[in-house]
Symmetry: C2
């Protein structure tokens, strides 16, 4: 799994704390410690799904466009990383009972596991993450 999921959480949390003005990808990337192009790529996804709004040109940037309570980590996971739990099985031996069928069995189990994980992640909205961040201070 790449870190798009955590970068998305990081970016949204950042934006949640700047509700009144636009933030640039440079500012967010400096906070997260990654390259601005990477942030723009992740934010581009979040924009497509309406969580944020962007504006080009001078004074432009990104800003939150939803209620913090209504964006939870499972929503973000699905956008950035759905299927990431699935094991990448190499081609196994079709002439062996185990090799031939393990892929299907694991696929089904990991699908269940991801759904189960989803139930957990739904408990955390960006609002909760923001509160946790503030509490750390």
């Amino acid at each position: 799994m790449n870190s798009d999921f955590t970068l998305a959480i990081h970016s949204l949390t950042y934006l949640a704390l700047q509700p009144d003005r636009m933030s640039t990808s440079d500012a967010i990337s400096e906070s997260a410690g990654v390259h601005p192009v990477r942030i723009r790529k992740v934010l581009s996804l979040l924009k497509k799904h309406g969580f944020i709004v962007s504006k080009e040109g001078t004074g432009g940037g990104f800003i939150f466009a939803a209620e913090l309570e209504n964006v939870n980590l499972w929503d973000i996971y699905k956008l950035t990383s759905e299927g990431a739990l699935q094991p990448k099985c190499p081609d196994s031996n079709e002439r062996c009972l185990v090799g031939a069928n393990m892929h299907k069995v694991l696929f089904a189990i990991f699908l269940g596991a991801e759904e189960h994980l989803g139930e957990f992640l739904k408990n955390y909205s960006i609002k909760e993450v923001v509160d946790l961040i503030k509490h750390e201070k």
Copy 2:
């Protein structure tokens, strides 16, 4: 996450279906479609924790050494992949409220997520996986 977890499940399932004789790393690796050295590395872990027994020399190999019902996927996950859910955060900006504290907050959330995943994986013992494999046939 590398595929040690799924290779361990594959190997144990394979051994579960050969309860009466030793299986070589070559045979298992052919079933799983990976290199025998990799299988031996994974099996070495499983051996350390008593799930299997190995024997060197001619006629040697690996064999299951526990009750199938008593080895579940969470046990195996812990051995092979514990912490794999944890996001690998790059060093973020300590002078930013979000950058400075996101790591701790995410660590806590993902720790919970992994425990939650554990509850799901505990539902699957190797016996169940074997049954699913047989059922696929």
